[in-house]
Symmetry: C2
Subunit: 360 residues, 2 copies
């Protein structure tokens, strides 16, 4: 199917045939998959259904000069899986809505679908429908993803209580510096970090995390099943934004210990510790999880982290009142504001290049 | 909320607040609506779930110089409801994904959401989630819609049998000439029709049907419940395309009687009978339904039409073999091909203006 011809030359039938060629076997709960006016599925018995949708738009969320098509397809599904992880839900079905510029190469569309399918296979997602349209502007991929969760195992932003500890998975700031590094053409890294020898691989690892985020799905599901957290949210818009959202939804304040925030090694290598901390606090797209954890659930959280193969770090606590603060050795500061989508002035992040933050 | 400022000036929080202001009360099966990482719903007990998504892209599906914002919002949901109608499914929840140019006026966004909500109220759809993104190109609205249907009441394209009669709802060609009329600036109509006096209102009615299609939802659900059809498909891509899809999915051929096709009065007024027939056969976006009806279900179909407040017209029959033909007084012809999305050459429709067909 791939060749030197474009989507516009190939036409609708060839595009649909290409999409179908990437669809794997369908599980028995799919009554009607791709090819009718709508898809039909059997709901998961005794489960609630979780639904989310997130779009990736060329020029906003990705740049085809920086990201390969396969990664773009992979990420379009991965960012949706991160939302399910934050609810403790197991994924089921996806609908893929594609806006295709006529000049897009069929080979690039093929690669994009290959990336999407790779992510779908890895996380047991079945593509059941969607639609294609011509786009007179940017390429866009809008994914709707469904999942299932038992009512009492569901996580949300709302359940946190005053006194619950705040934990974050993995390390933060990687996606922001990874993008920044790609934007500068992947130039040699001038190390600011303690271990100069590993800087290059740290930064390349950060770029990979920007291009192909791995949703914390297994961990999220285990946390929900074992009731290891009282509230959860993903970090698509950065830690500061996530802390604000979770605290406000839970009717609490929050106090964050800046020295405890797990900063990605690549960020430290590229920016030095101080600036890296700011990026870890404010930069988005890390797709880690923030969790509120009651004292009595601490052990269950550790067990979930082990089974889910992620590190978790205690970074603060939910407090009474509404104040949102960050403590560091110099004192207490207000939590910085998160990235404002649609803002005309880009968030002033202390990175070598203006960061084209990628709002969801 | 509406004012002279743009989406880019207003910023994300104001946009989200505007969207929330248009969300009505949520039914008890919505466990978590807008505002968390994902929406959560209780599936309808003993029902299958039906899912569809369709996008409307500026410059492809609509032109903001021809269509008012409220109609654009209305139609974005209506075209998805038509897909549910074709499955016999009752609608439940929608996710709305908006790609917004920074220069879009907040007042236009407000009107767009008002149109979407008007359609949602009329057809009992609950908006439970979605996402917003900046668009560096066209405005786009991608809607994912869920519905429910009992397994034995479900319609699909696949169930038709040789000998089943083919019926179509309403009248055809209105959307195509309505769009054409809007494109020419709504100029005075030079009547080709028999009743010159009603021509103007017929054509304006056609324009309304292009701008605000009414999905045959009530009828579709009743047809499914009473087993009044063996197969069903909507006419989003035109009658010729629908006949081809339904016949092929059912493993049959089809013979259509051209003289029986119910041509919209507005099309006849604007184009004369002969050209209007071609538009009725090939033009898309009428969002009527094509049904295969076994002889023994003829009465049930008539009853469903009465209850669903639509006219139905017998236009042909499913035949053995794979031939797809149209009969008219001059003889038998091959079924014309439907509109080819992504085709660089527009379908040559015999209308006064090149028709900017609006592919789904």
């Amino acid at each position: 199917m791939p060749g030197s011809h474009t989507v516009g030359e190939a036409g609708e039938h060839a595009i649909l045939a290409l999409i179908r060629s990437h669809v794997g076997p369908t599980p028995p709960w799919v009554v009607l998959g791709i090819g009718d006016d709508a898809a039909v599925v059997e709901p998961a018995r005794n489960h609630l259904e979780v639904l989310t949708s997130d779009v990736q738009v060329e020029g906003v969320h990705f740049d085809r000069h920086l990201a390969d098509s396969q990664s773009i397809g992979y990420k379009a599904l991965a960012v949706n899986l991160s939302d399910l992880a934050a609810m403790g839900a197991a994924p089921r079905a996806a609908l893929l809505s594609l806006g295709l510029p006529a000049a897009l190469e069929m080979a690039d569309l093929d690669a994009l679908l290959r990336g999407f399918s790779e992510c779908a296979r890895r996380y047991a997602v079945t593509l059941i429908g969607g639609n294609i349209s011509r786009s007179p502007g940017p390429l866009f991929l809008d994914v709707t993803l469904t999942g299932s969760v038992k009512r009492r195992k569901m996580l949300s932003r709302h359940g946190g209580r005053v006194g619950d500890a705040l934990y974050v998975t993995g390390s933060l700031g990687a996606a922001t510096v990874g993008l920044s590094w790609l934007q500068t053409g992947g130039r040699p890294i001038e190390s600011h970090g303690p271990s100069g020898s590993s800087s290059a691989s740290d930064v390349m690892d950060a770029a990979t995390r920007f291009l192909r985020p791995e949703p914390r799905l297994r961990f999220g599901v285990i946390v929900g099943r074992t009731r290891a957290a009282s509230a959860c949210i993903d970090l698509s818009d950065g830690l500061a934004d996530a802390v604000r959202q979770l605290a406000q939804a839970s009717g609490a304040g929050a106090s964050i210990d800046a020295t405890a925030i797990p900063v990605a090694a690549g960020a430290v290598s590229m920016l030095g510790a101080e600036q890296a901390l700011q990026v870890a606090l404010r930069g988005g797209e890390d797709y880690e999880l923030l969790l509120a954890v009651p004292r009595k659930a601490t052990r269950r959280l550790a067990a979930a982290a082990k089974l889910g193969r992620v590190t978790v770090t205690r970074i603060g606590v939910l407090t009474s009142g509404a104040a949102l603060v960050v403590r560091d050795p110099s004192g207490e500061h207000g939590l910085p504001s998160g990235f404002q989508h649609f803002s005309t002035a880009p968030a002033a992040l202390p990175t070598p290049q203006p960061i084209g933050r990628s709002p969801r």
